[in-house]
């Protein structure tokens, strides 16, 4: 535990409730030496605030109130409500009785649920390795200070800023049976029949993964850039003196230093991939692919729970399952991380 709780204790009443959060998110990916500098700077700043008079006990709560109210009202209340609804047969138009585990046993016999679960899981498997590795390589590429590099950084980041709907539609046009990709392939005589990117159930899922990876590259690249900037130069220099080549330095210096970031990226991208909606929804023209074979869990939740005949109860039960699985996914990542730390 590396905290400066002591510093805070020396200033009773001055302990900002969210200072922990802010500091820790800085600390997390930062290796020890750089972190120490940061903390030293932070402590200095706080020390200068000494001497301000003690506050009324409720003051921190007053500061907290707006944020807390919003969180309670718009996150926590609906969260609890969803869990309650999951055990009822509530409809969108009201009503609903407690039905125990009926929704969950219905799920076991619902082929659509299993299809959706399989697709969401496949999405994680197909997307996460690429989103952990590719942005790192990209970040190392654009990390160097070469004239004009800012242009490339911006270019790689553009898809992140672009709306997923717009991006999805553009890819739909590219991948259509008469789209650009197929026209080029046909003109080059690579294929004689158009490749069914959007009409074959396997290819559609792969196409959607491609869009997700392409769109996510820039975002995780920025995360990695920040982490790479904090890899101590002296370690690199020492390794170089010892005769380590670039590959060896990558595995022995860079990777260990940014491993917490890699885990974070892995966890974030896994959670995002598990909850995929827009890419598949748009590439399949809102239908979830031929015979709905490419539907994801979130798409299923939407399909079941909306409209005038929406089954809120069943839809909530699906949401609860999604939540539990997401949580499990994340605990798994953490477990892996911990084991590696021990090793």
């Amino acid at each position: 535990m590396v905290t400066d709780d002591n510093a805070a204790d020396r200033l009773p009443g001055r302990r900002e409730p969210n200072s922990h959060c802010v500091r820790s998110s800085q600390d997390a990916p930062v290796p020890s030496s750089a972190a120490t500098d940061l903390r030293a700077a932070g402590r200095g700043a706080r020390r200068s605030g000494r001497g301000i008079r003690r506050h009324w006990r409720a003051t921190p709560w007053l500061f907290l109130l707006p944020g807390l109210a919003i969180t309670l009202l718009f996150s926590l209340y609906p969260f609890v409500n969803t869990i309650i609804l999951a055990f009822t047969d509530a409809q969108v138009l009201g009503g609903g009785n407690f039905t125990g585990g009926a929704n969950f046993s219905r799920m076991l016999h619902d082929p659509q649920f299993w299809t959706a679960l399989r697709n969401s899981a496949l999405y994680v498997v197909g997307v996460v390795p690429f989103l952990v590795l590719l942005p790192l390589l990209l970040a190392m590429l654009v990390q160097r200070h070469i004239p004009g590099i800012a242009f490339f950084r911006a270019a790689f980041y553009t898809p992140v800023v672009a709306s997923v709907v717009v991006v999805g539609l553009i890819w739909t046009w590219l991948l259509d049976s008469r789209g650009l990709v197929n026209s080029v392939l046909k003109a080059l005589h690579v294929v004689s029949e158009p490749v069914p990117f959007l009409t074959d159930e396997t290819l559609l899922l792969i196409s959607a993964m491609l869009v997700t990876i392409w769109k996510g590259l820039g975002y995780y690249m920025i995360v990695y850039l920040a982490a790479l900037a904090n890899v101590p130069r002296d370690l690199h220099e020492a390794a170089e003196v010892d005769g380590a080549g670039p590959v060896r330095r990558f595995f022995s210096v860079t990777v260990p230093a940014i491993r917490p970031t890699m885990v974070l990226v892995g966890a974030l991208s896994a959670v995002a991939a598990f909850r995929v909606f827009s890419e598949i929804y748009i590439l399949s023209g809102s239908s979830g692919g031929p015979a709905g074979a490419d539907i994801s869990l979130v798409m299923l939740i939407r399909q079941v729970g909306t409209g005038l005949n929406g089954e809120l109860g069943y839809s909530s039960a699906l949401s609860v399952v999604l939540f539990v699985l997401t949580l499990g996914l994340m605990l798994l990542t953490m477990r892996l991380n911990k084991n590696e730390e021990v090793a």
Partner: protein, 434 residues
């Protein structure tokens, strides 16, 4: 350790937010209030009411503001607030309003939207509330808003529509078909489709859509049992239609995208000249003219295919909320908007058709003025005289998805047509019970 804890916090919050986004609405029972819906509604036409339309403000604002002004002048003290919702998400808006018990007083509904609201006792029984209204409307239009298992109507019939089929004469010629003899039945459609596919080798297709529930109805399949309690479209006749489509799919007369296409998807394929024939409505003609002039030059218009002799009819109605505070005003306004004179005026600007008795005999609907639009109008008006709304009101969006998915399985050969329809019927019946 530390990073692990941050990770937990970060991802948990992401997960919580994701979950909570799905938990809309409470579980309050909005159907429990007494609707006091036993007899004719009487009272002064006064007070403020709200009036909700579906995707009409963008184009027809002038018509409605004029209408409202006229109504307010005729009934001093009455005031109408006009609300309009965009095409997408109308059902979500209605369900949000319904669960908050704040449905507008007068609501534009199609019968399949009216049905779930009727089931929750949120709509006014108009046969009881306005017993003298029925005679003003076409009997089949009034009947179209009678809820299953009921004798009474829950919406004043408003505008009607019926889809002609559009076909691409150039693609017909290229495909070796007679551009003056478009198919009139589903059997002809399959036959011509197979010919076209043979001649074009997949350069374009005949059709861009697997059968919808209306197609099954138009083919003569009994969709539900007479009491409306279960679906029955897995009959031998239903299987026959699916087999026709399957033969088209195998021959590439049916576009592969058809398996995942929704209605607008297939319309777009016609616009892009990738399919030779597509159902549509009279106002699509304008889209062709502006968005696809080369298609417009070759477009042919024909009556919809039917094996029953009846055309499919789409009905829009105006319902009154059961909990409306000014029922008398709401009923008066609903009847005012749907009276013969105002429907006629609306039909002249939108190419829809009035549902009032006798209005379709107007020369506007019986005499071909030589224009394309005039021709579609006259042909459509003739179909409406004996049109049937084939879509069962019980068919929810979820059931439509079930049908589309099962039919796609049949096309792909993952199940036989009989299995596919059996599956669809079973799942739909299950959803009906939920």
């Amino acid at each position: 350790m530390r990073s692990a804890r941050i990770l937990l916090a970060a991802v948990t919050s992401v997960a919580v937010v994701s979950l909570s986004a799905c938990g809309i609405g409470g579980s309050g029972d909005s159907g429990s209030q007494s609707t006091a819906n036993d007899g004719p509604v009487t009272g002064d036409v006064t007070g403020t009411i709200s009036f909700e339309t579906w995707n009409l403000k963008a184009k027809y604002s002038d018509y409605f503001t004029g209408l409202i002004k006229q109504f307010e002048q005729q009934h001093p003290g009455a005031k109408v607030n006009w609300l309009d919702q965009p095409a997408d998400g109308y059902a979500d808006k209605l369900s949000a309003d319904a669960s908050a018990d704040s449905l507008p007083d007068v609501i534009n509904l199609s019968p399949d939207f009216a049905y779930p609201l009727y089931k929750k006792k949120l709509l006014l029984d108009l046969d009881k509330a306005a017993p003298d209204a029925a005679k003003d409307y076409l009997p089949n239009a009034w009947q179209g808003n009678v809820m299953p298992g009921q004798k009474d109507n829950y919406a004043f019939p408003w505008y009607l529509n019926t889809g002609p089929y559009f076909y691409n004469k150039k693609l017909f010629t290229d495909g070796g078909l007679d551009p003056n003899k478009p198919p009139t039945t589903y059997d002809e459609l399959a036959q011509q489709g197979l010919t076209l596919a043979k001649n074009t080798n997949g350069a374009f297709a005949m059709l861009g859509q697997t059968p919808q529930i209306e197609d099954l109805g138009l083919y003569g399949v009994d969709l539900m049992d007479p009491a409306g309690t279960k679906f029955t479209f897995n009959s031998a006749k239903g299987v026959k239609l699916v087999e026709l489509y399957k033969s088209m799919y195998d021959a590439k007369a049916l576009l592969p995208e058809a398996l995942s296409a929704t209605y607008t998807g297939s319309g777009k394929k016609f616009l892009a000249q990738q399919v030779a024939i597509s159902s549509g409505s009279a106002y699509d003609l304008q889209t062709f003219r502006t968005d696809a002039p080369s298609l417009y030059a070759n477009v042919g218009i024909t009556a919809p295919m039917t094996n029953t002799g009846h055309a499919n009819m789409y009905v829009q109605g105006l319902s009154v909320a059961a909990h409306s505070k000014n029922k008398a005003t709401a009923i008066a306004f609903g009847r005012f908007v749907t009276n013969a004179q105002n429907q006629m005026a609306f039909a002249k600007i939108v190419t829809v058709f009035p549902s009032t008795a006798g209005t379709l005999n107007d020369p506007f609907f019986t005499q071909d003025d030589g224009t394309d639009i005039g021709r579609v109008r006259v042909a459509s008006a003739k179909q409406l005289a004996n049109g049937i709304n084939y879509t069962p009101v019980q068919l929810s969006d979820q059931m439509k998805t079930v049908l589309r998915n099962e039919l796609a399985n049949a096309m792909l050969g993952k199940s036989t047509p009989q299995q596919a329809l059996d599956n669809a019927v079973n799942q739909c019946n299950q959803l009906l019970g939920h």
